[in-house]
Symmetry: C2
Subunit: 196 residues, 2 copies
């Protein structure tokens, strides 16, 4: 990443407060999703295939969100209509997230940024990163979670299109599903408090 193409509001590499989720809890989450030694290289390889395609991937996801009124409503501006600049800024980070899921180490810095993303969905920090005066004060947890299905299923064709003869598409897809599940679970932390 060069300075020119850092997405607006992206702060992964900045000094972040540590996540309240420690690496022992992360290890338990990885156990829950049956994470195995084979998943790490499969996810890295998925990243090589998906990284050049992030704009196409976001086209698919934004078409889906944009055509679904209760989903796009979290992007409303002060006038109650979808805010194009807000959508655009989030899109840049969403693209970067695809790359980060596949390429970043699952370490304390990764946990810290997942917590930052969590807070940006929750009432704690929604709208602040992008300076939006939105009537939507949080992303409903149910919608955030349910998007695990489109985010998992739609990635398959991108993996198939980019796979070479010795790639295992099923292994890459399962590693993606597992890693996305862990990130979504981490993003749900502020919603559930002590019961998380």
């Amino acid at each position: 990443m060069t300075a020119e193409n850092i997405p607006a509001g992206y702060s992964y590499d900045e000094q972040l407060p540590p996540s309240p989720v420690d690496e022992d809890r992360l290890s338990e989450l990885l156990t829950n999703v049956m994470w195995s030694d084979a998943d790490a290289p499969a996810l890295r390889r998925a990243g090589e295939i998906l990284s050049p395609r992030v704009s196409d991937i976001l086209d698919v996801w934004y078409d889906f969100i944009g055509s679904t009124p209760h989903l796009v409503s979290v992007f409303r501006g002060a006038d109650g209509e979808p805010d194009a600049e807000y959508l655009d800024r989030v899109r840049g980070r969403f693209e970067q997230w695809v790359i980060d899921v596949c390429t970043r180490e699952f370490d304390s810095q990764w946990l810290a940024y997942q917590e930052e993303i969590a807070l940006r969905h929750h009432t704690t920090k929604k709208n602040t990163t992008d300076g939006v005066d939105s009537p939507s004060g949080h992303v409903p947890m149910k919608d955030m979670f349910a998007l695990i299905v489109p985010v998992t299923l739609t990635i398959r064709s991108f993996l198939e299109e980019g796979a070479e003869a010795d790639d295992d598409v099923e292994a890459m897809h399962q590693a993606w599903f597992k890693a996305v599940t862990v990130t979504l679970v981490l993003w749900s932390r502020p919603y559930a408090g002590d019961l998380w």
Copy 2:
């Protein structure tokens, strides 16, 4: 289902309080998971394949939970050790859940029972159905959600083993993934309150 084989504590067909989630919200959730007209018959067919295998399926899931200390810990009895009777009673309902996911209509009664299951994971009703004096007062939301991965991935081989020549395993598996996601999202409702 005959009177003799109703699982302990199973109350789907009893008079239940209506869910706070109405059918409009359910419709939105089904949109989120890209539910389509083709999913309903695929899920019904999956039910025909999975229903005779629920004991084998639960063997797989209980092996996984039983061998994972932080997961089995929610089944502790008063002595701090896993409570065999508690595990056994939940297992009966878990088996029935597999059948219900595939065969029940997604209507207000279905919503009411998903809410009942939600409350049985949450502090509201954990342990009461089975009369357990457990030091575990709730199922952590993160663990409940992350189990979407084993519950989705492990079902594939059962579908493959039971499929006939004209069955579409991929379609059945996707319908299962979508339906399971909706149920887990509904079970998370009490954890997030107004932010759900």
